[in-house]
Assembly symmetry: C2
Homo-oligomer: 194 residues x 2
Amino acid sequence: MDALTHLRNKVNSLSKLTDQEWEDFSSRWDTRVIEKGQHIIQVGQTEKYFYFVHDGVMRAYVLNKGVDVSVGFSYNGDFSGAYDSFLDQKPTDWNIQTISQVELLRIGFADLMEMFDRYKSLERWGRIFNAQALIGMGRRQVEVRSFSAEERFDRLFNQSPHIFQLVPQKYLASYVGMTPETFSRMRRQRIGKE
Amino acid sequence: MDALTHLRNKVNSLSKLTDQEWEDFSSRWDTRVIEKGQHIIQVGQTEKYFYFVHDGVMRAYVLNKGVDVSVGFSYNGDFSGAYDSFLDQKPTDWNIQTISQVELLRIGFADLMEMFDRYKSLERWGRIFNAQALIGMGRRQVEVRSFSAEERFDRLFNQSPHIFQLVPQKYLASYVGMTPETFSRMRRQRIGKE
DNA sequence: TACCTTTCTTGATATAGATCAATTTTTTGT
DNA sequence: ACAAAAAATTGATCTATATCAAGAAAGGTA
């Protein structure tokens, strides 16, 4: 499946676009291939694009007093970008980095706003997309707050085993809120030496 | 200021409604006064309403293995409700409880959906409201993850001193992620005996 | 293939914050 | 205003996880 079809499926799952709307909307997106380890945005920059991850993995993180905290990952079929910066077009507090080679689609701020102005179906897509992201973020907040490190490890391990293949352990450790050492020890207890 | 004017100001700050739109929209909201300590929704129920807090304070929390985790508070001018349940009309994982007597406006699910269908301006309001909530939630996630208990206490203390008057300490403790005992000790260090 | 860099592992030790327990203070209901 | 209940305080411990340190494994590069 090509990237635009992939995108169309994702958008359509939340709000139906007519062929005409889709034609206009889809023409605004560009393809970008980014090598592993590159940043698509860093703290202080203003997010000019909204991204769709067609293939590969990216990581969002913040730096706090030099400590790197992984906040989330995006894979196939996820949208990404520094939302805190995009909506108000002011500098971001986030970094987003590729963890593998990544194939992205991206749309510029002005284009997307024009699409929202022009098509109610897209305004709706935006509303529902944001609502779902919000709900997911709420779940994650509960996750981080109400489980022990061990429980968080197990939940990651049971719910997203594939992620162990895709993302370096130190980032997963930070994501679930523990040190790489603790993560490694817990991993060993479950999997042993393999 | 009456509750509906309060609501109109809040909605207008994100998306302008015409007088006609407002007339239709505002007619769908009901006023409710709820006594302190009541729940407006509890785990397992399906959220039928979207709320606007005109006056008073509410607390959202989850119960995890019997442990009560405060996830957020809503005050004057905030919207509230179990979002995880409302959008998809399925049972919620959250509880929302009044912490003081509260004056609310509420709109039913079908009415709100009809408003989204009918008015693009409201669809836009929904999109931007959700986006802002999402950004706020992201900030909060970083907060909980990258600061020590002491730093979290200080940030709450410096950024929202008013909350100490409004919300019982044990809920604040849970909100910033520590026990009431730890919270009390930190409070003493800053304020002393008063 | 060998070299260099980064990531992961493992052990020893330290510590922030939790837990347990016993008042004291504040709030609530009558 | 008083009794009962709930919340907050304080002290004494305990423990899950962090930190520190050093070696092993994995990955990239020439």
